[in-house]
């Protein structure tokens, strides 16, 4: 099977049903994308497939064959994305486990809505965070929107 991950081609052998999450983590060795629930509910596994955010734990790799995958490691190699800079300014992460997915989801939101309202943030940001960093996530999204101006 073949994929492109963060711009690099990947050729590998795997079960067609193997979720993209585990191909990314095991076959590609990229552990930034996390496993939280396996049923697409928590968002810790969020990657981009051809630029669109997807929950990779419920995406069989056969469904994305030949496509271009972006993981958290590929979002901004210098950790310079507006979302990442805002996350650092606000010290958003606590344990940090959900934050790869959270950052990917927030970056995608900002792409679609450069000046997101709180209602848009509420609707879109369904990633779960057990540490409940949500207040800072919201504040950091607004900050990132300002950076991008």
């Amino acid at each position: 099977m073949n994929l492109t991950i963060n711009g690099k081609p990947l050729i590998f052998v795997a079960d067609a049903a193997k979720p993209l999450l585990w191909v990314v983590r095991e076959n590609a060795g990229l552990t930034g994308t996390k496993f939280g629930c396996g049923i697409g509910m928590c968002g810790a596994c969020t990657v981009y497939v051809d630029g669109r955010p997807e929950r990779s734990c419920v995406t069989p790799v056969s469904a994305v064959e030949g496509k271009s995958i972006t993981t958290i490691e590929g979002l901004s190699p210098g950790t310079n994305h507006a979302i990442q800079r805002a996350w650092i300014e606000h010290d958003v992460p606590q344990c940090g486990y959900c934050q790869s997915g959270m950052v990917m989801a927030a970056a995608a939101l900002l792409q679609r809505h450069p000046q997101p309202t709180n209602a848009q943030i509420d609707e879109t940001m369904s990633n779960l965070c057990r540490c409940a960093t949500y207040q800072r996530v919201r504040a950091a999204i607004h900050t990132a929107a300002k950076y991008k101006d």
Binding site: V13, N27, A28, T33, I39, D91, Y97, L128
Partner: protein
Amino acid sequence: MTQNRRAFMKSGLILGAGLFVPLAPSVAGVVAAVSEQELNDWVWIASTGDITLGLSQCEAGQGVYTGLPQVLADELDADWTQIKVRFVTNRDAYRTSAAHEPLQQFVGASMSMTLFYERLRVAGAQAREVLLKAGATRMGVRPSQCTTRDSRVLHAATGRSVGYGEIASDAARMPLSSSPRLKAPSVFRLIGRDLHRLDTLAKVNGSAQFGIDVQVPGMLYGAVRMVPGQSGAIRGIRNEAEVKALPGVVALVLTSQWPKPTINTVVVVADSYWTAQQAANKLELDVEPGVAADLHSTRILQQRKQALDNDAAAVVASHLGDAAAVFGKPCARIVSTDYHTSYLTHATMEPVCATADFRQSEVEVWGSIQGQDMVREWVSRLFQMPQAKVIVNTTFLGGSFGRKYVPDYVLHAVAASKAVGCPVKVIRSREDDTRHGYYCPAMSGRLRAVLGADGMPEALHARVVGQSLYGAIKVDKVKEAGGWDETMVEALYDLVYQVPNLTVDAIDVKQPIPVSFMRSVGSTSSVFFLESFISLLAREVGMDDYQYRRKLLAANPAALRVLDHVADVGGWRTAPAQGVYRGMAFNVYTGRGEAFQTLVAMMVELQVAKDGSPKVLRVVCGVDCGRAVNPGLIRANIEGGIGFALTNTLKSAITFADGVVQQSNFHDYPLLSLAEMPSIEVLILDSDRPPQGCGEVSLAPTAPAVASALFRATGQRQHSMPFEF
């Protein structure tokens, strides 16, 4: 090629790229680089000037990765922008004890800062003193003419300075003072400042390594399949041969779930987690159900309700005056209410997971580990290995809240590795993590008061019944106390409110359910009971949450200070907007064995939707946790604690039927979402007291404050958690 290596190759490795990311040196225990000088148990300085600070407390989100090095770096006068943090283990310097128990390295009970503040100050000051002397010697001047700052020794008179790196080896040879002079707080450069967290960068770019991310050469993967219920043994695997023959499957390893010796777990070892989990799901187990086969939440609650009436079985935890006599007076104005909470699970975002390599004469483990010595003790006991031969590597923890102190998942990895002869990383699925947890036990409480003519309680009787945590895992503590478990009666047995006659008693209603510590432990229940009841009494006599508590705390200026500040900033005395309702609660959190005292007051504002469900809009939380080492970290813990508590309060519970946990994943154990998160204002009150714990303190007051606001809104009292509406 060995069987294992062949199986591993089949997993489909990418061609050409480096697959194995070696563990960063920062998580490999105390591994000193070649040119590093060790000044003491906490400080390593390389000739290049790189300073590495030891961290003994695992980082699980509470912020110790930043807060503790901050203390050390201040006394050391290290350049904060240049320091690195290394997780350290396996020395007595890193061990401590909660409530007079044997020394161990662990995190728990919000005690890291309280326990390590002085220790790290001494370590930093010790190292600074020898560096200063070495620097002075190097410059040919007297130490009294020198100062230290930003990793340099300075001689003001000549403007010369020398970096710590240049003199580290001289300093390392000098004897350390056991009582070095500590800085006066007025000259702290780092302590007290809102320094940015050191681990944020790694946590926003995917590079931070958690237990689940560990990769070691030759590693296989394991998934777990356990008996379905809370008890039982595996008698056989009906399709063992078929599952073993599945492509990629290497072995089926039978083992047990700590602390029970019963064989109740299969670890499926395979060449990828996915393969292992699919195979584990296919297993057909023959299970002998065991004593918990008919465990049912309805019956568990029934047993607690019966216990509430069981005067004969109640063990008195504390008493003041003669509450019974006051209750016995004719015409006593008695108010009495029963409350109930539910079993809860930690639901860490990172499911439990560990990697182990069982070698001939030693075992090495890597993972999200909250109790390093717990792991050593139990690996040693169960695998006949001297503790000194158990190497423990700790990564970042993807949440713990107490869960990862239990060594079960590490022992599974060790068993798997021993069976297959190579390293194995065992990952628990969310379903298994939920169904086979170590739960926070449910409680029931009966609060009764006799109200005096002034409306204040003349007598209070509080009874808490339920599955005792200490009764299950720290039986000696129960004996020591005289037959009761302090966690069940937190904030009751050491009541902060002035009540002249008080009896607090408790009954252990045993259940065959694994239980353990969960963030805020028994206070989740006992403070829900107490604070709900106090608010109830207030309303009985026509006072509000704030006024009534003010009177009860009249003799406690420290408590009043926090309560008043929250009322002031919260705007308690001015009416809220139309449709917005308020509640207030107060708590003194004391950790375990009264290790510290943190005072918390909380005001909640909410609206109620047409369907009766609450939307919590705003929380104002005041906290006196002694000296604030890093206010940002405290605020994060308070904010996060409220969010954590709202899941317990409004959304989720663990229930049992036919011996099996009914929940399995986030669709039936939902967590608070971003849209449901209130806006939180944290007020940190100044204090000269040494730092007190703050990791758990905002949880307990949340439920009763919300309940009180809800009552104002709807006239309905909340007797059970999670709330019903």
